[in-house]
């Protein structure tokens, strides 16, 4: 299983949190809101396509709205493998934190 990066983790989590409404713009907005700084579309799009290629993301076309010039959204869902990779990342991250905190308290 391929390890993911920090930004990929953030995006996978955003998708999980957004539920059925996870597409490029909503992910960007969500990330910008919680991090208090502007995240660019490309910064989101590139990891998205990478994740999709790795099989961590599934996509389907959603509805088209007038504001999108009549073009459909691409809605993302996290796959089983995606979830597993996310958990793997969490485990690794926790392990690193644990080791650090242990050293701190000693």
């Amino acid at each position: 299983m391929k390890t993911i990066t920090r930004i990929e983790e953030m995006i996978l989590l955003s998708i999980l949190n957004l539920g059925d409404e996870a597409y490029l713009v909503s992910i960007q907005n969500y990330l910008s809101d919680i991090s208090d700084k502007k995240v660019s579309l490309t910064a989101v799009h590139l990891p998205l396509s990478r994740l999709e290629k790795m099989g961590y993301l599934d996509s389907e076309f959603g509805e088209a709205t007038a504001v999108r010039g009549g073009r459909r959204k691409k809605i993302y869902q996290v796959t089983e493998e995606g979830l597993a990779a996310l958990k793997e990342y969490r485990k690794l991250s926790n392990k690193l934190w644990d080791d650090y905190l242990k050293a701190e308290t000693n």
Binding site: L24, V25, L41, T42, S49, R68, G69, R71, R72, K73
Partner: protein, 884 residues
């Protein structure tokens, strides 16, 4: 809610990856709309553009990776197709190469023709002053490339806009003596020293400021200097001209080929002071203030910076009216000078293509040629492109499977279009290479033919490269775009199921194109037929005189004085029928019309119409074989004939209002003489000028002093020995003379040099057009025969005959040619009527020429096609049907 501009969203859609095209453009629109409502539309636009810019590098890298992979494949396929279908490839490449070669040659020719005189510094500020005579409605009735010398001082006085003005006197021919030899020089000019301020004539030796300051100084061109002095320094050497010594003060570089005038000798204008023996009258002629009538000086001026030609032109009428008093017309109306005369300022760079005055220094070009050339070039290139279009669409079924398969494995239409366009570009490239070779072979012929120099140097001349590129791209595109669209539109499912469209689609389009090709070809053939007919008409037209067996020679000073003696001597021999001297011989222009006075019904009229003067000596009419229809010819037996007698032509007789020629006899008339004379005879109308011009009223009288041409009628048969005899006689009077002669009929032919050139041009061009069109037809016929191979086999087994089958296959091609002629006929009719209208005397366009065009094009087409059809019809059905 705001949407990004359509063009920008399309651009974005184009550069993003096709898989994400829909959702990404949607996402960008959403953000755009959001941003524009929050921060304003402008801000949103800026953001959108920024996004596009960010995406471009990714797009470029992606497409490069893919296209390089595909390019190898495309190239391989293109090359294989080229090799597999040798005949068709050859037809395509040969046709295109021929068409391109013509197009390139013509573009080079146009480049050369439009470059005339532009090498001069400040060429846009240099003008030539031309005398114009205006008609009643202000139209130009006559014009010269020159003005009378006395206009220059008044222009310099009253119009301050000229920086420099130079008068140039061109004596046509002059005898230049060096040492004990003499030569006739034809590029000898007298010019004021400002000439070097106006024309860019770089000095090799001498100083342009002082070279022509003094009388009897002379500047040579480099070639002339080498001719006379070899490697010696020419400065200070002496020439003898009109018994005066001229001192060489400078050497200039040779005038470039693309100059409207070429100088071999430039003598100082002041030398003209003494040219007629130094009389004050002669001085006044060139340098005084009263010679406004003889337009002998080609005059050039350079305008000050920032002054427009139009603004100076506008000052001319005022100047004329100020200088010349108005006169009263016959009806008592006051006529201002500016109503009848003008000095036209012609831009230097317009002279070569647009000026066509009777006394141009050198023959000028013709802008009509450029138009004709361009149209023909475009047509020929089109015909070649059409070959390509037709052959590739007709044979498209061969590529159908490939198209289907490519589409199935994921090729987009866009990719197929670029593949096929690329193929046509490839063929276009091969053709350009072929065309370059052809052009290099053709240039020497074309140069002698078009009378110009063409530089073809790809490495040094960027315009040549540009021309090649333009021809390559336009031919590749025109030829390739339709087949590319057509081939890429195939539906893969249909193709792969076996429903191959057997090239039946687009048949109509193909037919239209073939008809168009042949319409052009037969139009050219018909045009050639009409030009031939007109030239034939000119050659056989009754000119009013006998043009055979007349020898023309220049008359030099010494011979003029002893002409009576010479004439007697010549006539001693039976080979000489008659001899006369005159100012001009028929075949030139007849421009001098200094006016006349005539007494009609007791009233004296002053030049009621323009009538050119023809100054001759005894026996003029007899020598040229002109017929006196009333009264009598000039005769030595009437002592007053050399001062008081006039002969007019029929047209003049009619214009003067006489019903019968004999009524005019005895009328009092005077032309440029003091004593009142009488009309003694009327001569039958003859064509003094070319058949382009109407016959003018002409008044003829005896002034041997002004003659400069000898005309001698010799007995038919012994031409060679007669000329030897003339030479012997003349050399008794002028030992060491340069014996030059011309035949009248050769000189008459020279009047139509332009038409003859155009005729040849058309013959070549139509040959080419027809050849290229035939190439295409040949290919199409081969294709049809191949397609119908089974049909023919079956018909044959059922008993069809070979002639019957040939007819069946040839029929449709013949039909196309018929249709093409129907299209071509009216177009040619209008174009050629226009051309014929340039002749006052012309043949008419008969049905015959159209029949010739029709017959020839049909014959050529059928002959081309029948090679293929007969072969197909003769094939053994056992062979063709075996595989089924």
């Amino acid at each position: 809610m705001n949407a990004p501009p359509k063009i920008m969203s399309n651009l974005l859609a184009w550069i993003v990856d096709y898989k994400d095209r829909e959702n990404l453009t949607g996402d960008f629109s959403e953000v755009f709309s959001d941003l524009s409502s929050k921060s304003g539309y402008t801000r949103a636009i800026v953001w959108y553009i920024f996004q596009i810019c960010k995406l471009i590098p990714i797009y470029l890298i992606e497409s490069l990776i893919w296209s390089s992979a595909m390019f190898n494949n495309y190239f391989k396929i293109a090359f294989r197709n080229l090799i597999k279908q040798k005949t068709y490839s050859l037809i395509n490449i040969m046709g295109l190469a021929l068409g391109m070669a013509v197009a390139i040659l013509i573009l080079l020719y146009i480049k050369s023709e439009t470059s005339y005189d532009k090498f001069n510094r400040d060429a846009d500020r240099i003008v030539r002053l031309e005398r114009q005579f205006l008609g009643a409605n202000g139209e130009v009735r006559g014009a010269f490339a020159s003005i009378a010398p006395s206009f220059v001082p008044i222009i310099e006085r009253d119009i301050p806009d000229f920086e420099n003005i130079t008068r140039i006197f061109y004596p046509n021919e002059i005898t230049v003596g060096y040492g004990n030899k003499s030569f006739t020089e034809t590029r000898f000019f007298f010019a004021e020293d400002d000439i070097f301020e106006i024309f860019t004539l770089p000095f090799i030796e001498g100083d342009p400021k002082t070279a022509l300051k003094n009388p009897f100084t002379i500047v040579l061109s480099e070639t002339t200097s080498n001719k006379y002095f070899g490697s010696q320094n020419p400065i200070g050497k002496m020439f003898q001209i009109f018994d005066r010594n001229y001192n060489v003060t400078g050497v200039i570089k040779d005038t470039p080929y693309n100059s409207h005038v070429h100088f071999d000798f430039i003598a100082s204008y002041l030398s003209l002071l003494g040219i007629n023996g130094g009389s004050s009258e002669a001085d006044d002629y060139f340098l005084g203030n009263s010679n406004f009538s003889d337009n002998v000086c080609h005059t050039y001026g350079k305008l000050a910076k920032g002054v427009s030609v139009e603004s100076v032109q506008a000052k001319i009428p005022m100047l004329l009216d100020k200088t010349f008093p108005p006169r009263t017309g016959e009806d008592g109306r006051v006529i201002k000078m500016s109503e009848t005369a003008n000095i036209f300022l012609r831009k230097l760079t317009d002279i070569h293509l647009h000026a066509n005055n009777p006394n141009e220094l050198e023959p000028t070009g013709n802008s009509i040629y450029i138009t004709i050339f361009t149209v023909v070039a475009i047509f020929i290139l089109l015909i070649a492109c059409i070959n390509f279009i037709n052959l590739s669409t007709a044979r498209s079924s061969r590529r159908a499977k490939e198209v289907g398969l490519r589409k199935v494995v994921g090729a987009f239409r866009r990719m197929l279009i670029s593949q096929f366009l690329g193929e046509s570009m490839f063929i276009s490239l091969l053709s350009v290479i072929g065309a370059v070779v052809l052009v290099m072979l053709a240039i020497p012929y074309f140069e002698t033919f078009a009378g110009t120099q063409i530089k073809f140097n790809i490495a040094e001349d960027s315009t040549v490269l540009f021309i090649l590129l333009a021809v390559f791209l336009s031919a590749g595109l025109i030829a390739g775009i339709y087949p590319a669209l057509y081939l890429s539109a195939y539906k893969p499912a249909l193709i792969l199921r076996g429903e191959v469209t057997k090239g039946t689609k687009g048949v109509l389009f193909r037919k239209v194109l073939v008809v168009f090709q042949f319409a052009i070809s037969s139009a050219l053939i018909i045009a050639v037929a009409i030009i031939f007919k007109q030239m034939n008409y000119i050659n056989s037209a009754n000119l009013g005189f006998n043009k055979e067996n007349v020898v023309l020679l220049p008359l030099d000073g010494n011979m003029k004085d002893r002409w009576v003696d010479i004439k007697q001597n010549l006539l001693k021999d039976t080979r000489i029928v008659s001899a006369a001297i005159s100012k001009r011989a028929p075949s030139g222009r007849l421009m001098d019309a200094p006016g006349f006075q005539v007494e009609l019904k007791g009233e004296i009229l002053n030049s009621p119409f323009g009538m050119p003067h023809n100054r001759v000596d005894y026996d003029f009419f007899k020598t040229f074989g002109m017929e006196i229809i009333a009264g009598r010819d000039f005769s030595v037996d009437h002592p007053t004939d050399d001062s008081l007698a006039y002969v007019i032509n029929e047209t003049a007789c009619r214009r003067l209002g006489f019903a019968e020629p004999k009524d005019a006899i005895g009328t009092n008339i005077t032309a440029r003489r003091i004593d009142a004379g009488k009309i003694i005879g009327v001569v039958k109308d003859f064509h003094y000028e070319s058949l382009r011009e109407e016959i003018l009223p002409i008044i003829t009288y005896i002034v041997p002093g002004q003659a400069n041409t000898i005309a001698i009628r010799i007995a038919p048969g012994n031409v060679k020995s007669a000329i030897d005899y003339i030479k012997d006689v003349l050399q008794q009077y002028e030992p060491g003379m340069n014996f030059q002669y011309d035949f009248l009929d050769t000189r008459l032919k020279a009047q139509y040099e332009n038409e003859i050139e155009m005729m040849e041009l058309f013959v070549y061009f139509s040959l080419l057009a027809v050849a290229i069109a035939c190439l295409g037809l040949f290919g199409l016929a081969a294709f049809t025969a191949e397609q119908k191979v089974k049909e023919i086999g079956i018909r044959k087994t059922l008993g069809a005959s070979i002639p019957g089958l040939t007819f069946l296959l040839t029929k449709q091609f013949a039909l196309w040619v018929v249709l093409a002629n129907v299209v071509a006929a009216p177009l040619v009719y209008f174009a050629m009527t226009d051309w014929l209208n340039g002749f006052a005397y012309r043949t008419d366009i008969t049905i015959g020429v159209f029949m010739i065009g029709f017959g020839l094009s049909l014959l050529i087409a059928v002959a081309t096609v029948s090679v293929q059809t007969i072969k197909a019809a003769m094939a053994n059905p056992a062979n063709t049907l075996r595989t089924e």
